[in-house]
């Protein structure tokens, strides 16, 4: 599973992209966030304010209860500030 990070989520995790093997218990985006937080202190810090983080599965906005299914790419980022 390719995981991508943007803006301050990227800075806190310390990378813009990583490939992670998901345990079978990870079914939803919320499960994935729970899993990522256990990886190291950087991930834990990045996801400390879970409410401030938005998610896209295969480049589509989703809520954290979304199933991961056969997604290729999941991205985490703060609320958008373009325009």
């Amino acid at each position: 599973m390719i995981i991508r990070y943007f803006a301050w989520v990227r800075e806190r995790v310390g990378t813009d992209e990583e490939t992670i093997e998901l345990p079978e218990t990870v079914q939803t985006v919320a499960d994935l966030i729970g899993h990522l937080k256990t990886l190291d202190a950087n991930h834990a810090a990045a996801f400390a304010e879970e409410d401030a983080i938005r998610v896209a599965v295969d480049q589509l906005h989703v809520e954290t209860d979304a199933k991961i299914g056969s997604a290729r790419e999941i991205a985490f980022f703060p609320p958008m500030t373009g325009g």
Binding site: R4, F6, A7, W8, A56, Q59, L60, H61, A75, F77, P78, P79, M80, T81, G82, G83
Partner: protein
């Protein structure tokens, strides 16, 4: 059939007049063109530049989804959306929306709608680089942007 919107995500500046002209030239069915240009602002004089980060691929895809909804919702004759990324200095352009239609109400509403949803849904993030040696900071999303986007649900 709804028109095919033009979507571009680019580092370079854009030419608002050229984009507007491309929606009107050689045709006689356009009565109204509304352009919105968003610029990098620095009233306090403390900003060296904004840095616009984006999610390549998803930025274009999301802008296309918003634009497709706009052309389905209003009888537009043309719609173009250009969003820049990279370093942008105060006074420079950030984003352009051009909506054209037979009638002004559709052009105004579509451009307004586009900007509201672009702000809350298009994956771009602004970082402010101050003129002094202080650390750069990520711009925080505004609650007002969500309120603006919510306006379109009841119409």
């Amino acid at each position: 059939m709804p028109v095919q919107p033009t979507i571009r995500v680019q580092k370079d500046d854009f030419d608002a007049l050229a984009e507007s002209k491309s929606l009107t030239e050689g045709r006689q069915d356009v009565g109204a063109v509304v352009t919105f240009t968003g610029l990098c602002r620095d009233e306090a004089g403390t900003l060296s530049a904004l840095e616009l980060e984006h999610y390549p691929g998803m930025a274009e895809a999301e802008l296309s989804r918003i634009a497709t909804e706009a052309v389905a919702r209003w009888p537009l004759t043309g719609l173009s959306v250009i969003h820049r990324y990279g370093k942008i200095k105060p006074g420079e352009n950030i984003v352009l929306v051009v909506a054209s239609s037979a009638h002004r109400r559709a052009a105004f509403e579509a451009a307004d709608f586009l900007m509201d949803f672009l702000k809350t849904r298009a994956p771009f993030w602004k970082k402010e680089h101050p003129v002094s040696g202080r650390a750069s900071v990520w711009v925080e999303a505004k609650a007002a942007d969500d309120t603006d986007a919510a306006r379109w649900k009841n119409t």
